[in-house]
């Protein structure tokens, strides 16, 4: 190991760790730990949702019925498919097929954009139907407070989710470009794999959001 090293030498990480696989292992552990923090981050919203729902069961039912189950279901399918695309990208990369991997990543990002597009349409429709909490909230009656709280959580939870998805799309797109320019090979696939972990996590959050927001006692 070279001894002459100024403290600000580039690539410090590769200097301080002993091997490439060691670095990949550390990065993956780091990503999983980050995902645990994200679990608690969105988990706080799930806890809030559950508490408010026990207090306003009827308001949540009425609120949920106002969500668009068709668009929501389509979006869920889109996101699950994007997860498949991302998983296939990582699979191709592990097999050293960088070109195929990049293409699957582009597909992932595009599906993510479709999700955001549909979400945008839903938000627009919600606004038009007077479902946005605040002075323009239209539903009345004695369940209105519960319904308004439902939609407050709906917008907050799907909004936070959409923000995370947007960041994911941007990173997937950037990594796809880097991949096309030969940046990652089979030996250096860890960053892409870790990005995949992030993407799948965003998917898992939606897997729970969907029934809690769209499928509350639809009958």
């Amino acid at each position: 190991m070279p001894m002459t090293r100024t403290p600000n030498m580039v690539g410090a990480e590769s200097q301080v760790r002993h091997s490439l696989p060691g670095q990949a292992h550390a990065a993956t552990l780091g990503m999983w730990i980050f995902l645990v923090t994200e679990t608690l981050f969105v988990g706080a919203l799930f806890a809030a949702y559950l508490l408010v729902r026990t207090v306003h069961p009827q308001g949540f039912i009425l609120g949920s019925r106002e969500t668009d189950i068709v668009l929501g279901s389509i979006n869920t399918a889109v996101l699950l498919t994007s997860s498949l695309a991302m998983a296939l990208a990582v699979d191709r990369l592990r097999a050293d097929m960088a070109g195929a991997a990049a293409r699957w990543m582009v597909a992932t990002a595009l599906l993510g954009l479709v999700f955001l597009g549909i979400k945008g349409v839903e938000y627009l429709l919600d606004w038009q139907h007077g479902l946005v909490p605040g002075p323009h909230f239209r539903p009345g009656g004695d369940q209105a407070p519960g319904m308004e709280l439902f939609f407050f959580l709906y917008f907050l939870m799907t909004g936070v989710h959409a923000l995370h998805l947007f960041i994911g799309i941007a990173l997937v797109a950037i990594f796809a470009v880097m991949l096309r320019h030969g940046r990652f090979g089979a030996g250096l696939s860890a960053p892409v794999e870790n990005l995949g972990l992030y993407w799948h996590f965003v998917d898992v959050v939606w897997i729970f959001l969907f029934p809690l927001l769209y499928l509350v006692h639809r009958t």
């Binding site: 292992h25 993956t28 552990l29 999983w32 730990i33 995902l35 645990v36 923090t37 679990t39 608690l40 988990g43 706080a44 799930f46 806890a47 559950l50 508490l51 026990t54 207090v55 189950i69 279901s73 869920t76 399918a77 699950l80 498919t81 997860s83 498949l84 991302m86 998983a87 296939l88 699979d91 097999a95 995949g196 972990l197 799948h200 996590f201 998917d203 898992v204 897997i207 729970f208 969907f210 029934p211 809690l212 499928l215 509350v216 006692h217 639809r218 009958t219």
Partner: protein
């Protein structure tokens, strides 16, 4: 090796789609609280599939499954103890 790993990923996707159909379909059956429980169960299965097969937790080395379970466990702790308060509070309505 190449094709079979991809096939497995697609197989998982098919399962996920089926489970999605199931959860949406059963939402229209009048099962009362059973709807929510069923939906959450199906969601848990879908999530487990994604975590195990797409996130490779099934084949991951030692600390990773422990790390992942810790996150889940802690979330459960937050939810359970908070609900324990909310569900056992007496209902005291305001006089007005």
């Amino acid at each position: 090796m190449n094709g079979s790993s991809a096939r497995r990923l697609v197989g998982v996707w098919v399962l996920l789609m089926l489970l999605l159909a199931l959860t949406v379909g059963t939402a229209f059956l009048p099962l009362g609280v059973g709807n929510t429980l069923l939906n959450l169960l199906i969601a848990a299965v879908k999530a487990s599939l994604v975590v195990a097969f797409y996130m490779h937790l099934r084949t991951a080395g030692t600390p990773l499954p422990l790390v992942a379970s810790t996150g889940l466990l802690w979330l459960l702790l937050l939810v359970v103890l908070t609900l324990a308060d909310a569900l056992t509070r007496p209902s005291l309505s305001a006089p007005w």
